[in-house]
Symmetry: C2
Subunit: 355 residues, 2 copies
DNA sequence: TTTAGCACTCTCGACACGAGAGTGCTAAAT
DNA sequence: ATTTAGCACTCTCGTGTCGAGAGTGCTAAA
């Protein structure tokens, strides 16, 4: 979906500069930028007339548009896309930012449960927009461990651990009370039998003689299946208020629809699934919904997948108005994806992977 | 903070009726309601002039106000409070709603992790506002079970279960690799020693001879302490978009501040802690921030605590504009609190508590 | 005590008008 | 051939005016 540099030779160097400046200025001020504003604010050594001439070229090329006759120019979706692919895409995050982020994660490396909210918070703060992070998800769940803990009566807490470190809990109500010893025995048997197996392999096992073990086993299977069917685990959001105070969200009703997308988790999962079919790697930038998402008309989403392809991956990204600070957002998203990838690989493989 | 019925005898029966109708109409339409509108919409057997006379009385009593000279009346904070305490407070949720809610929970009773998001979703849907639910939290954490699971290398997953059913996971990096057998042995020892003990009791134990056990034990303690210091566990939100589309949130900047309150979890926890010092029981209604919360100027919050006092309690509530459908919200919140209380008591005590 | 009547006040939408911003075009300058 | 100055043109936006309409408070009659 990205243009190659050589495929867009239709802009002179100066036009490219002007487009860049217009995008930069507009993302800051949210005001259409005119020729005079451009020359004074960026101290250009050109007259406004020259700039106006270039502007008509950029407008005809489809990168700019005028809200009305006597207004300045505003980037179109193509304008943003040009800016993203040609100017900012390969930019790196400044060292200072890299260090502070690494530091924050170093402090939280102990506690896996803090990773996701921390990542969401950092993303939201750095990009000054809304962020989303999904927990890493094992595409092919592998059984690691089960624990059965008796509470009083017939209630039993089942804790199921996957190879990737995912943990799911469930409260069962048995037909009759069972002692902790009995439960532990059953758990031990199942742990021995199912170790490192996938759903299919477990399903293919011969049925257990013991009724209790059999019941638990089927629950384990449904639980693992449910995990696999989800596109990804829980979704962590942060920074919605950042985006709420942007001027384009003050009135426009279709901005409100976009936020609705974020609350309805199923919609969001659908978006993630369809936006990123590919593996870990590049940062995907969805500008204005790309015609596919009506709800994202005025918005942009910067997404990346992290983790280890084929084993456990999750997604993270930033959501904001189309007029977004891509030059800050894209490097941040890429860096965070790399960082989380290395954390996940430490967890799974146990290899020490200082970065 | 509630008025007693006998403390507010300053309203005649008819004035109370009119106040009720005005509140009802205003919560629906968000438009100031005038005398003519009142008589035609509710088919009153009175003239508009009579109603106007009563309105001046209600206005002088502080229950109504006029946005401007030629506008209808709008309830004041005192007006809402009167309505809440005298008209709607003891109202019950209709049977139909009770049944559907019970049904939804019955289907999800198996899976503890679904309770909170489900409760938040139901609250948001029923009240058509934003909802929040905190996980039940054991005020005095009691150790129940620990599980240590080796991943490759020096990484160990620790799963700690409390008596109330809370589970916390943590990823440890040991100084040197340790076998699963060794870990299981240590876990068994700790489980035997710490069973059903509180933080203080565990801290008072003599140090373990074994270095591994000692290390784990101190981690357990910090983890339990962290749980106790939190006002409550994770906070589940839902329905923010409901409240976002309300007219008072379209422009007003201080409505935006209120939403900010919801994102900054620490602020929210502070609010919850200060709003509900007391135990389980009544539903607390905060109207317009009650002078204590600047951020909630135009908003109301309906809160209740649920669970078993002294053992495990959580909070749930609804957040919306001051112009909120209290007559639907308050009974829903009360019912949900009761429902969750009985679920929690099942989990803790294991008693079957059909409701 | 209720109601009809009426003058009064205030909001709100429509309309007009002028200032200002920004443009496109043309012709001169480099 | 490119850049620039100049200028007419168009459009937005804020302001002011105006009239219609809504809703009130008051007074006097029922």
């Amino acid at each position: 979906m990205f243009f190659d540099v050589k495929m867009a030779p239709d802009l002179t160097e100066r036009q490219r500069l002007l487009l860049t400046l217009i995008v930069r200025d507009y993302t800051e001020t949210a005001q259409p930028v005119g020729s005079a504003r451009l020359v004074e604010h960026f101290k250009l050594d050109l007259s406004t007339a020259t700039i106006r001439n270039e502007m008509v070229a950029l407008t005809e090329a489809g990168y700019l548009r005028q809200p009305h006759t006597s207004a300045g120019r505003v980037p179109t979706e193509e304008g943003y896309r040009y800016f993203v692919t040609h100017v900012v895409y390969q930019a790196d995050l400044p060292d200072a930012a890299r260090h502070t982020i690494s530091h924050q994660f170093y402090q939280a490396r102990q506690d896996v449960e803090q990773w996701m909210p921390l990542a969401a918070s950092i993303l939201a703060h750095q990009s000054r927009a809304a962020s989303l992070v999904t927990a890493p998800h094992t595409q092919r769940a592998r059984y690691k461990h089960i624990e059965l803990i008796a509470t009083q009566g017939r209630q039993v807490l089942m804790v199921l651990v996957m190879a990737g470190g995912e943990v799911s809990q469930q409260l069962l109500t048995l037909a009759e009370p069972v002692s902790q010893e009995r439960l532990s025995a059953a758990a031990n048997v199942l742990n021995a039998v199912c170790m490192a197996k996938t759903t299919e392999e477990i399903a293919a096992l011969p049925g257990r003689a013991d009724a209790l073990e059999n019941d638990i086993l089927s629950l384990v299977l449904t639980d693992m299946n449910r995990g696999e069917q989800r596109v990804s685990g829980e979704i962590y959001l942060d920074g919605l208020t950042n985006v709420l105070s942007e001027p384009e969200f003050l009135e426009s009703t279709d901005a409100r629809r976009a936020i609705h997308l974020f609350e309805e988790r199923s919609l969001l999962q659908d978006l993630l699934a369809r936006a990123m079919p590919n593996g870990v790697g590049g940062v995907q930038v969805l500008i204005g919904g790309e015609g596919k998402w009506e709800e994202l008309k005025q918005c942009s989403v910067v997404l990346a997948r992290y983790g280890i392809p084929g084993q456990a991956t999750g997604m993270l990204g930033v959501f904001g108005p189309m007029r977004m600070a891509y030059s800050r957002t894209i490097p941040t998203v890429r860096f965070m994806a790399d960082l989380l990838s290395s954390l996940v690989s430490e967890t799974i493989s146990g290899e020490e992977n200082e970065q």
